[in-house]
């Protein structure tokens, strides 16, 4: 029991740190695309420390505080269900639907907090975020169905193991289609253009985030870091073959090797998101909903049909 708790703590620290570095990578790579130098990789960590050390802290009631903790908790729980090589704590229960669901819960938590602040901009942002959440469900659902049909299981760990035998998911046509649809959905989950509609700095001045400051924002930064880590990890696990390394005799070396392989895959997923995010303008919310219910849905549905044949 103690060992599991220790493992969980290690995993959490690792995910937070890597998540912050991912945020740094996003800023650095975006800066290079803009032909700027950009901040150092550890800049988001400094930002978060600064936010957490603010003296005045405005709160708008119980739900305002609770929503943020709720978002953080859900993200951490999602992280524990996703297999990380062979380290994961709850991987035996790592159900595809459960993880997908848990990765969306944080958005709801942020919405709770934003709505309780009573700010009309936050309300607009919440409205947009909920519509985005609604729009991405359809292609996401089809992508999950395609995976489940192909591998005949909902367990993420079994899917990873199956990929060790039959090659990465994206080498099969049906699952490649599902991966493309999922990658478009991932753009909205990361909050990158063209689907960063819920944040939209130039339009609704950060939307839900408009009222958060100090420790609330600091916790949200940590949540965002862990969510980045969890989302890229989930994608690498189900589509890019995950990493189960057994070549070394020592389990420690195996763990480090699998973490390294996963890290490379996660950064690859992240890079695609950054490159797309930097060259496209933002959709409006109705256009985004229309888009999600059209192309990604068609692609994912095609994948699901091909997988079930």
């Amino acid at each position: 029991m103690f060992e599991v708790a220790l493992k969980a703590l290690f995993l959490l620290l690792y995910a937070t740190f890597v998540g912050f570095i991912f945020m740094g990578i996003i800023r650095k790579v975006s800066a290079r695309i803009h032909r700027r130098v950009g901040p150092p990789l550890y800049q988001p960590i400094l930002d978060t420390i600064k936010l957490l050390s603010k003296k005045s802290n405005i709160t708008h009631g119980l739900i305002y505080d609770f929503g943020i903790i709720y978002a953080l908790g859900a993200t951490i729980l999602a992280l524990f269900f996703i297999p990380i090589g062979s380290v994961s704590i709850l991987r035996a229960y790592g159900d595809l639907i459960l993880i997908t669901f848990l990765l969306e819960i944080p958005m709801l938590g942020i919405m709770f907090a934003a709505m309780s602040s009573g700010n009309p901009w936050a309300g607009l942002g919440a409205q947009r975020a909920l519509l985005t959440l609604l729009a991405i469900q359809v292609p996401l659902g089809f992508a999950i169905v395609a995976l489940a049909e192909f591998y005949g299981t909902f367990s993420t760990y079994q899917i990873v193991m199956a990929q060790q035998v039959s090659g990465w998911s994206i080498t099969h046509v049906s699952l490649l289609l599902a991966a493309i649809a999922y990658d478009i959905v991932l753009q909205a989950m990361f909050g990158k253009e063209p689907f960063d509609i819920m944040i939209a700095p130039g339009e609704i001045s950060l939307g839900p985030m408009v009222e958060f400051g100090g420790k609330h924002m600091g916790i949200l930064q940590i949540q965002h870091a862990i969510a980045l880590f969890a989302e890229t990890l989930f994608f690498s696990n189900i589509f890019l073959g995950g990493a189960v390394v057994t070549i070394f005799a020592s389990p420690v070396l195996n763990t480090i090797a699998s973490l390294g392989i996963l890290l490379i895959k996660q950064i690859a997923v992240l890079m695609v998101a950054i490159f797309i995010g930097n060259i496209f303008p933002r959709f409006t919310i109705d256009q985004a909903a229309k888009f999600y219910w059209k192309w990604p849905t068609i692609i994912a549905a095609l994948g699901a049909v091909l997988a079930s044949l």
């Binding site: 607009l124 509609i197 130039g202």
Partner: protein, 391 residues
């Protein structure tokens, strides 16, 4: 300390309504701290995602230039007036100088004319690049914005070499300009910059102006027709996007423009996309004009008028009379009306900023029915410049 219930009771007794009066709509203060509006606010009555009513609320930047100018000598006013238009501060300098020269009946030397035309065109390109940055940031494609800002910076460096300041260069004075062109190296550098930006325009097309999402975002929003635009006094690219080929450089030529060959881009649709594309074509035309000016080369001669009265500038007197001068700025027709009563200070000075038409009445009518995401886009597509309105 009165408790809340007592306050409510007192209010009810006096027949006051404490609940929100309008329960169907809510009010958004699209205020001066919002990232899309610069020191300018619009009060929006919203029904869900759509605007029901928009009330423009300018005046945050009213610095009272027109009154202040009445207490300053003729030449000192230059340093004051250029602060009216932030993105292209050369325009107020030039129109004020042109109006004062008209009252004085001065003929500006050829070299000064060439320098003024070049400076105006450089200001136009840098203002358009500045606008591109604003548009890109509102649309969320930050890459194009950063690039535009970086290219504008090249012009700023050139301005710094020529005038000594990056943005507010107190350069054009009645009777010429304050300094000569530093060297031939400056001209070569200007040509390099023009060629460089010309070679980078396709990048902007790809990422911003011809992007699928940009077209989806801008098509059919904020539509104005020709009659509406003419009635409301809209000028500049906004008017040309509705199909009226009105350009001050053609209609009422000034400086060297009659000798230059350029086209005035005109589009018919009158929506935000047309306004954006007109501006995109104008960047190209302005770069072409700059190339022609460089081919022409600065004529030799003095760069300002030599007049014995200029020895004592604070006592410099302009004969009684009035004059109006206007130029084509990137926002539209920018005019100055100067009245002199023969003293060493202007009697009255009126500036007509182009944003006064499309920043207040036009925006109020164009925003009705727009989605909240379209509001900043329409605002930037009109190229609203709050200091023009407030002065």
């Amino acid at each position: 300390m009165v408790s809340q219930s007592e306050l409510v009771k007192e209010a009810r007794e006096n027949g006051m309504e404490l609940l929100p009066i309008d329960k169907d709509t809510y009010e958004l203060f699209f205020g001066p701290q919002h990232m899309a509006t610069e020191n300018y606010s619009i009060i929006l009555k919203m029904d869900g995602n759509r605007v029901v009513k928009a009330i423009a609320n300018p005046g945050f930047l009213h610095r009272g230039f027109e009154k202040l100018a009445e207490y300053r000598p003729w030449y000192t006013n230059i340093a004051l007036l250029l602060r009216v238009c932030v993105p292209e501060p050369d325009v107020p300098e030039v129109i004020y100088s042109m109006a004062v020269e008209e009252i004085l009946g001065w003929e500006v030397p050829d070299r000064a004319q060439w320098i003024r035309t070049t400076v105006l065109e450089m200001a136009r390109v840098s203002a358009y690049l500045f606008w591109t940055m604003g548009m890109a940031f509102k649309l969320g494609v930050y890459t194009a914005g950063q690039w535009a800002a970086a290219y504008r910076e090249r012009f700023m460096a050139l301005f710094e070499q020529l005038t000594g300041a990056r943005v507010y260069h107190i350069y054009t004075i009645p009777g010429g300009v304050r300094r000569d062109i530093p060297s031939d190296a400056w001209l070569r550098r200007l040509r390099d910059t023009v060629e460089y930006i010309k070679s980078k325009l396709p990048d902007f097309d790809e990422i911003l102006f011809e992007n699928y999402i940009t077209h989806r975002r801008l098509e059919g929003i904020g539509v104005m027709d020709k009659k509406f635009a003419l009635d409301e006094g809209v000028t500049g690219p906004n008017l040309r996007a509705t199909g009226v080929p009105y350009d001050v450089r053609r209609v009422d030529p000034y400086l060297l423009y009659p000798e230059l060959d350029f086209e005035v881009p005109v589009l018919r649709d009158g929506d935000a996309l047309a306004r954006v594309m007109v501006r995109r074509f104008e960047i190209e035309q302005d770069l072409y004009i700059l190339e022609q000016l460089l081919d022409m080369g600065p004529p030799s001669g003095p760069y300002k008028i030599e007049d014995p009265r200029l020895k004592n500038l604070p006592r410099f007197k302009v004969p009684a009379g009035d004059a109006f001068a206007h130029v084509e700025s990137t926002k539209g027709d920018f005019g100055a009306y100067v009245v002199s009563d023969g003293k060493n200070k202007p009697y009255r000075l009126q500036l007509r900023g182009p944003s006064i038409s499309h920043g207040i009445r036009v925006i109020e009518q164009l925003l009705v029915g727009a989605r909240i995401a379209d509001v900043p886009v329409i605002l930037v597509s009109l190229d609203n410049c709050p200091p023009d309105i407030d002065r």
